[in-house]
């Protein structure tokens, strides 16, 4: 007797086909009004964000190859998932990224040079979320940030900073993680706590198919969106290369969260076109056919086709290309200017309150380094 086959499926919600036609799937129909309400300027901004993100990716990878960065973490292929979801958040919302969401940070007002400094080995964090659109620090231990996001969302509830009925001020939390991270215990614990406390929160999983070299099938036998239901919250699977779906679904999930309905999970099905990081070699574990398949589903190409069909001028695209080139060139210049912090940075802020050991060691290192003054000249 053949072993019974167990298939788990979930519909993938799509507004924009990969040819660039606005032809919502059945599940996507209810979201269409959210897109129809957007002014042209907002739609153009999605394109601008994605184009700049991709240009910065090229710049970052080059900097790493030139020995100027310890690492570069590319987003190539995931621009629609990131831009749509980030643009869906309101200013009062809090964003907890993983470490690949450079354009999300930029949308929230973060200077990307702060990200470059982190990858250049100049800082360990680099920015104050309160001054950068509530875009919290990158977290390199996978899924740790999901719990911080949930705790923060609990705090919003306790402060009555959410669910008052005013969407202009009610806050919600958006947390990013990836398909690999979903296997971490913290990711599951965060879903448990979020569901238990009904936090105003959206879990945004970018399923880019690969956790470095291990395919998503090793992380999950079923669509990751189904994890939502298992924990007591809606789970929605979207075409993550469709910026309109990413925007509309995240927008609605965040609005529901801020209204007090509870958390939800979005799985954005996308693809990491490049390497995991510059330390990776994807030719060792995936096929050209697969890359070709996803190239045909490129998020920027399809969105550009749609904008063009709607009448966007070639001047617009030229202007965006020029702007993206300027942003990348400026970032490159400033990245090269980022130099090591003073040695006091080893000791400052390890604690908030005075600490005798840290103070003594800082004084010792200072005296030790100063003892060489005058030597070797």
């Amino acid at each position: 007797m053949a072993a019974p086959s167990r298939e788990f499926t979930a519909p993938t919600l799509q507004l924009l086909t990969h040819e660039g036609e606005l032809r919502p799937s059945a599940e996507a129909e209810p979201y269409l009004p959210i897109i129809e309400a957007l002014p042209d300027a907002a739609l153009e901004q999605f394109y601008r964000d994605m184009a700049i993100s991709r240009r910065i990716d090229v710049m970052g990878a080059n900097l790493q190859r030139q020995g100027q960065l310890a690492l570069w973490v590319p987003s190539h292929g995931q621009e629609a998932a990131q831009v749509g979801s980030a643009r869906a958040a309101r200013p009062q919302d809090h964003i907890f990224p993983s470490y690949r969401e450079h354009v999300v940070g930029m949308i929230r007002g973060l200077d990307p040079v702060d990200i470059v400094k982190l990858l250049r080995g100049v800082t360990l964090g680099g920015w104050n979320p309160a001054e950068n659109g509530n875009f919290h620090l990158y977290t390199l231990v996978l899924a740790s940030q999901t719990l911080h996001a949930t705790g923060y969302a609990m705090g919003l509830q306790f402060d009555r900073a959410t669910a008052t009925g005013d969407p202009e001020t009610d806050a919600a939390v958006l947390v990013y993680y990836g398909d690999g991270s979903t296997s971490q215990g913290d990711a599951s614990e965060a879903l448990v706590f979020a569901s238990s406390y009904q936090t105003p929160q959206v879990f945004f999983v970018q399923n880019n198919q690969w956790a470095i070299s291990v395919p998503v099938s090793r992380q999950s036998r079923s669509p990751l969106s189904l994890r939502g239901g298992g924990f007591g919250m809606p789970g929605i699977r979207i075409d993550g290369n469709d910026v309109l779906a990413s925007y509309a679904v995240t927008r609605q999930a965040l609005e529901e969260a801020r209204s007090g309905v509870g958390p939800s999970l979005i799985e954005a099905v996308t693809y990491r076109m490049g390497a995991h990081t510059t330390a990776d070699d994807p030719t060792k574990y995936r096929t050209d056919d697969e890359v070709e398949y996803w190239t045909e589903r490129d998020p920027i190409t399809r969105y550009r086709a749609w904008l063009e069909a709607r009448g966007a001028s070639s001047a617009f695209f030229d202007e965006v290309d020029a702007e993206a080139a300027d942003v990348a060139a400026d970032l490159r210049r400033r990245a090269l200017d980022a130099t090591a912090p003073p040695r006091s940075a080893i000791f400052e802020h390890v604690y908030s309150d005075p600490h005798p050991v840290v103070e003594a060691q800082a004084a010792w290192l200072e005296a030790y380094e100063n003892s060489f003054e005058g030597e070797g000249q």
Binding site: T123, L124, G125, G126, N128, P129, A130, H136, L137, T139, V141, S144, T146, L147, H148, A149, T150, G151, Y152, A153, M154, G155, L156, F158, D159, G185, D186, E189, A190, V192, F193, S196, E348, H349, V350, Y351, S352, D353, H355, P356, V357, V358
Partner: protein, 351 residues
Amino acid sequence: MSVETVSTSAETETTGAADAAAPALRGVHTLSMAKAITAGLREAMRNDPKVLLMGEDIGRLGGVFRVTEGLLDEFGEQRVLDTPLAESGIVGTAIGLAMRGYRPVVEIQFDGFIFPAFDQITSQLSRLTLRHDGTLSMPVVIRVPYGGHIGSIEHHQESPEAYFAHTPGLRVVAPSSPHDAYWMIQEAIASNDPVLFFEPKSRYWGKGPVDHDHSGLPLHSSRVIRKGDDVTVVGHGAMVATLLQAADIAAEEGRSLEVVDLRSLSPIDYGPILDSVQRTGRLVVAQEAYGFVSVGSEIAATVAERAFYSLEAPVLRVSSFDTPFPPAALETEYLPSADRVLEAVDRSMAY
């Protein structure tokens, strides 16, 4: 506050479960350590609405050791959280709440259950102030009932403090008396840094005077609690009672031990230890934890470095063995006892 001043003050016996409407305590009362911590938590929660408690079974039940008993009734569910049963989740969400301006006090139910939260404590909690360039404080207290002597099952009698003392960005303290427990928990909560607060669970039921008006010492201070001339003995938590017992026995044999209560394991306040060793010339460090790479090892190394010319004998350590905590039926042979401390004292005196 010194022990002497307490013993001369008027004392009143306080018994029974915490009363939700209990007025703020003044004067000197006799409390068990568990109830002293309850009273300290209540004070901290009354004084700062941002203080909240999180943990497993801490609400309606009042915690498996009843340390949070009565606090749910007084402060409600948004300040006394019976969380889902997941330690990493508890500490991870406490971090998020601290980012929002709260001062969470987390209860880990038993010492051996802290390890599911180890990553959140050592890789996240301990570093977030540094990673935020000091713009974010992490005032999270993690209460850990720890140590043996209670005859319990595996993972319920451990002393994991060295892991946390080894981690930069954390502070680690352990009270040994009800008075210190009452004040140190409040001082830990007032700290703007993460504090691991190790509670010697075998001492929870031991009563002692608590002066509610005078704390006496900053959080990270060690202190001499018994004067002596021949050998300095240092310990923390439940081991302090063992050291006092050893000192009593030694006194009967004509030997005078000076007992230092460490109180803070990170940072360590070496002043009273070095002062004492400079007079006695001998030091024995006792701890329930494994001896290898322990707080006791650190003290031995530092005292050897800083009091070398005062020492008449090598610094000796009395620890548990470097084996997993045994079945409870063997714990009295495993844990350092007064006799084992005195054996080390004898060896020290033999030099």
